[in-house]
Symmetry: C2
Subunit: 330 residues, 2 copies
């Protein structure tokens, strides 16, 4: 199949930058040093490419992602890096399952529902999940008393990963990891699981990095001058042109919008509607014609992918494979 034959909107991944991104981080963080986060791509087909490069421990954000990875035979070491109060669906998976806990309630749910291994999730600065660093030892004690094996700690410096200034990211990581170090001393266990695409090379003490966006990238991460290349595009068809603007058939239902609108090379995006993007060609350039295909670069990969049933792997004009986005939902 050819790219021009794909119905639009269609999510496409370019083979070469994807391979570059996967290969680059595999060399920098070989084997279990990288625990790829599947939430960014939600594709077991793409996770297989990561596993083929030696990464057999994965990070998930939802129970559905855990189930899908186990079903795909990718369950050697799955971390649910998120708190849950009903873990029953996890206990029956054909996989090694580790769950994040940060409270007596999440410890009790894991123990009650048959989970065996946990990480203590420590808040290192982002106002989200994670216990206070000073409380981590107590949570670990509770977990062990409940019969759970505590593998170590997890801390996500989400307030830092997106900072465009590298020096600021370094300072932020150091501050966050100082908090995590103290918590880890109280918790014990071999694992220190941290980070993301924006901080992949800024950790000294962590045993593993939870990067996900590096594989596909988006315009928010492009601002950080990372060694990863844009690999994900949303293909759309120009369906209407007017004096001063044009409209293509990709909009709010095919793009995560929390980081802002998508980008189009050589054009300015005016706004998105449910199924439309209105844009204007750069001054002095030929305007698009009805029927033209255009490519949008999403601002945020994760919620963009979550809207789509499939991703097409392409090389130039050829569609090489079509992957089901099989880890969607909850």
């Amino acid at each position: 199949m050819k790219v021009r034959d794909l119905p639009t909107p269609a999510l496409v991944v370019e083979r070469e930058p994807l391979a570059h991104n996967l290969d680059f981080l595999s060399r920098a963080l070989p084997g279990s040093r990288l625990r790829p986060h599947v939430k960014a791509h939600k594709c077991t087909a793409l996770a297989r490419l990561q596993a083929a490069r030696g990464h057999v421990s994965f990070t998930c954000a939802t129970i559905r992602e855990m189930e899908g990875m186990a079903r795909a035979g990718l369950g050697e070491d799955l971390l649910l890096a998120n708190e849950v109060l009903d873990a029953r669906r996890l206990a029956t998976l054909d996989a090694r399952v580790t769950v994040a806990v940060d409270s007596p309630e999440t410890v009790a749910a894991a123990a009650r529902d048959g989970v065996r291994e946990v990480l203590v999730d420590v808040n290192v600065g982002l106002p989200r999940c994670g216990c206070a660093p000073s409380d981590a030892g107590r949570i670990a004690d509770l977990a062990r008393a409940a019969g759970l094996s505590v593998r170590g700690v997890m801390g996500y410096e989400g307030q830092v990963v997106g900072l465009a200034d590298r020096a600021a990211r370094i300072a932020g990581v150091d501050a966050s990891m100082e908090l995590l170090r103290r918590a880890h001393a109280d918790v014990g266990g071999p694992v220190v699981s941290v980070g993301g695409t924006g901080t992949w090379d800024l950790h000294r003490d962590a045993t593993e990095i939870q990067a996900g966006s590096y594989a596909l990238m988006d315009t928010a991460y492009e601002k950080l001058a990372l060694p990863f290349r844009p690999a994900l595009f949303l293909l759309a068809t120009v369906i209407s042109t007017s004096a001063g603007w044009a409209v293509a058939d990709a909009g709010l239902k095919s793009l995560g919008m929390d980081h802002g609108p998508p980008s189009i090379d050589g054009a300015r995006v005016w706004f998105c509607s449910d199924e439309h993007v209105t844009f204007a060609a750069a001054p002095g350039t030929a305007g698009p014609r009805t029927g033209d295909r255009i490519r949008l670069r999403p601002a945020h990969v994760d919620p963009t992918v979550a809207y789509h049933e499939r991703i097409h792997l392409v090389d130039g004009e050829d569609v090489l494979e079509t992957w089901e986005v099989d880890l969607r939902g909850w």
Copy 2:
């Protein structure tokens, strides 16, 4: 099933406000005066409730919506209120199919692919699809010359529907409809199809109103003081609490964010992450506890629903029915 047994995040619709919204607009715009837009709910189960109230002509935004409605036996009069350059999937539907056209290219695609009926889509002020009003007669002539039946005109005053001030909406509708009236004089045909939830009662000359959001509503439309009640909620579980904030398990992948973050009664939303919302209880109120269920009100219904596989119809603590969101995708 009880609401407390639903895994979260879960989209729920309350029976009573939904019935109010459907009944109210059915009385105000009976039968074919209302052409409900299915893009807002993407559920044939909900479309059936609209059909049971006498509305058997529907509006769609995508070919997939047209296919799903036809397959569900709701194809008596389906309008694709959008431009397409490949209409092959429409020609084989077991339904009466009408497609919007606004250019020689979209006319040619409809004629080539076996569509029989069209509306001329006229731009009435929103920089999106639609031909210039002065060009509408030419597009209609092209369509008739290509063997298509021209049912009339369509114009969407999208620049007006969301204005909070009613007087401003009235003035905007009047200006838009003056443009559409002139175009209709050149085009002919019995149909003048316009509008949306924000302007449902502001049209004098239209033959039908394309309202969709009125059934479920969202916080953006709530600002307009319309006679429709909030019926859609996103149910979430508090999975983590800290000094000053709490986190529930609903985020960017379960909420359309282009109109801003969701609302939580009695709390202030700080931000959303992929699978989380961080919020703080109102000062002086008891903070949420881990395990509590909360309800979020989405800011924009359409892209919220598009993330979900199902919607649960509830009445108090009872889950009455579970509907598949079966019109998703393209």
